[in-house]
Symmetry: C2
Subunit: 452 residues, 2 copies
């Protein structure tokens, strides 16, 4: 293809490849969505490289799909119209680090773990993103978050400035290096979460936080998900700056115990983490314990040693991946977010739907945010199982939207949540589509994601 | 004028007026910008009323300028192209209050104080906005903030959902009632801070916070603004969730003492507030005191009684308005925001510029955010004084942008900061203007604000 020859000509063979293994690696993410091979993979090293690629793509009307670590869960990196996969692995540098301003500027391909290692020498950490590793660019593009969002907010809340390149090669900064601004339209928040459909992000300036001196984890159980939700509400209503607060239902606790050899009480559970100066944490744990016991919690267990902390949060992470290794089985993952008061309804509905269907499933939630995940297991060889799993997932999403929530709390829309965009956004969707048209009139930037 | 007859016909005389006193009241805000009378003032009571007004305005190509409390500081509510002033005083209701979700939905005309009174029965408060009173709609439109932003973030961070009406009458919600979402483009942040130029906001859903049980105020002095900034950085680096942290330079302390009868030490000062559960606050104050004394602070004074608290924060508020009553004099207000590390440079530059000019001036800053205000006094009757005051203000803004900051931290662009939009936003300004064109093709919504 002529445009690929042009790419080789302008960028050289080190930054362009059509190797089968690379095409395969860039054909999919961690989701259940079908793989599609790109025609070519580019590895830009600078904004200028990206401008060259976009000029060629624009001239030949070729799709450009950004690729970070391939860890996404809704198919955002799958090049469904083939064309160019834009891999940021060589744009992974720290460009500017200002510890005194608690601020860092990075290229989008840097992994969260690499960033945190770099800045930890100064007692700082980056508080956004999921619990597993991912690129900062991918987290920005999907407005990712995770267990710590209850304290620090989502990815969008961590970003001070972006440098972006539009489809026509035009480049600009969306913000400044100041902590806040009331100047002009907030394009930073427009690009954060736009999944590569409006422009290519080339630099990201992030707020940082200080690493807490000390932390304590705790765990307790309640008779019902309702009581778990009320307990979580009371933690927030009492102004405790909880670091993490997770709901895991009794069936999912059983799965953790069985798969990972734990012996947690098989009841609806809250996993908690408190972090800060030692004496402050001690006060917070005391207050939280009182709140929980006043509501009738059982099995309260708090610990500050590293082994207990590791055990607790590893169990939580293991739940999220507990089904991944079951041979021959596939899973469909859910990610709705609802007002906390509606979470018990969602949990009950989900658990009974899964139980009645006969399919195996786990559920857990970032309860302080009302964000709630499911993992439903199906055998693709058994007729109707995939459809059944999808039906349950659809019903959960529809219920979430009905009670005032959203189809995705942190994974993004990608391919999997496109069908819910009309019911969630209504007339706003038209303005989103017209915004897409304004920024990318030829429709070359990650086409077919968020909307068709 | 024909369109005014149509307004009377469709809305009735109770919702439309051309009374001189009302035209005058809607001709200006608290800024130094020249008053312009609208042709007519409308008082809509519902979204439907607003749609009627916009249909008429659209048909006759008449400017529509939203008006909240008139408390703005950059001329946003001044109807510079005359036409319709859209006053929200009759759209001031609480529409939905969910204490268990720490969430409230209001109409834009409600005052912050009214909202806080309503929700305080449930132990909750709205943490956004300036320290003086304003409408929630106005605060949303300008992305306002104030002393508590260092802990709770700016207005944009408080908003879960907006209902908006576009110039053509199309209406939609920008978000959901969930605490977070990764679905679609974040139109909420686009409208927050757009100063009524993209659409009319008709409903606002806000996050709430719990009222802290207890608080302690403290005050201390340092030899230089640099030391104040380092002290503030160390408070943040130690993870203390400080409620307020204000810098007031020595000259401004002198003004407070003289104008308001206080006896604060005439030195560069930090005013602080800690808030939370009693024991936690005590730990935070202990840690902060150590941090300050390690840096050589003097005059450390902490108190938890209500008289001391009132005295301290009243003095801070008095500084902001200390020049307002000086007969025959006018003031020009500044509002830049820079990385904290750059604040000492700005403070020194500003103080020496004011001193060398011979003009009276005060300066104070939300030091935790790097947001920094000035109030420069001039006599409009004295030749050249206004120009001199404006020159100093311009030089401060240019320096702020040069060191990576913004021309406005919380007041918005309005009329006063239009001239800095090119140097601050560069090529991004073109996309902002094209966004304006997309949302308001006839240019009837608050024309001439942010950009021409």
């Amino acid at each position: 293809m002529l445009y690929i020859e042009k790419l080789y000509e302008k960028l050289g063979t080190e930054k362009v490849t059509q190797q089968e293994t690379e095409l395969k690696r860039h054909s999919k993410d961690e989701s259940m969505h079908d793989a599609v091979y790109p025609d070519v993979v580019c590895f830009p090293e600078s904004k200028e490289d990206i401008q060259i690629i976009l000029h060629i793509a624009s001239e030949y009307q070729i799709a450009v799909t950004p690729f970070g670590a391939g860890s996404g869960l809704e198919g955002q990196v799958i090049p469904i119209q083939k064309g160019i996969s834009l891999d940021f692995q060589n744009m992974n540098k720290v460009l500017d680090f200002s510890p005194e301003d608690m601020r860092v500027t990075v290229q989008p391909g840097i992994m969260k773990s690499e960033l945190n290692q770099f800045i930890s020498q100064q007692g700082l950490f980056f508080a956004g993103g999921p619990d597993y590793d991912a690129t900062i660019g991918g987290m920005t593009a999907t407005n990712a978050s995770g267990t710590r969002a209850v304290r620090y907010g989502v990815m969008r809340d961590q970003i001070l400035d972006l440098e972006v390149v539009l489809a026509d090669g035009m480049s600009f900064h969306t913000g400044t290096k100041a902590k806040k601004s009331s100047s002009g339209y907030h394009l930073t928040s427009l690009f954060a979460g736009s999944e590569g459909t409006l422009g290519i992000i080339t630099e990201i300036t992030l707020k940082l936080h200080s690493i807490p001196d000390y932390s304590t984890v705790a765990r307790c159980t309640f008779e019902t998900p309702e009581l778990c939700a009320i307990a979580a509400q009371n933690i927030l209503l009492n102004g405790i700056p909880i670091m993490r607060m997770e709901l895991i239902d009794s069936v999912s606790i059983g799965i953790i115990n069985k798969q990972c050899g734990h012996d947690f009480p098989v009841k609806h559970s809250l996993f908690l983490e408190f972090a800060g100066p030692k004496n402050t944490v001690a006060e917070e744990v005391k207050l939280a314990s009182k709140i929980m016991h006043d509501l009738g919690c059982e099995n309260w267990d708090a610990a500050s040693d590293s082994i207990s902390k590791k055990k607790l949060w590893e169990a939580r992470v293991q739940l999220a991946v507990s089904f991944q290794d079951l041979k021959g089985m596939k899973e469909i993952g859910g990610d709705v977010c609802v007002p906390i008061s509606q979470l018990p309804k969602l949990v009950s509905f989900t658990r009974s739907s899964m139980d009645e269907s006969g399919l195996k499933g786990a559920l857990w939630g970032h309860i302080g945010d009302g964000n709630f995940h499911t993992s439903i297991l199906y055998n693709p060889e058994v007729n109707g199982e995939q459809e059944l799993a999808e039906q349950i997932n659809d019903a959960i999403v529809n219920l979430a939207i009905e009670v005032g929530g959203t189809c995705t709390g942190e994974h993004g829309v990608g391919l999997g949540k496109k069908k819910f965009q009309v019911s969630e956004h209504g007339a706003a969707l038209e303005m989103m589509q017209r915004t897409k048209q304004l920024y990318d009139p030829k429709g070359i930037l990650n086409p077919g994601k968020i909307f068709s």
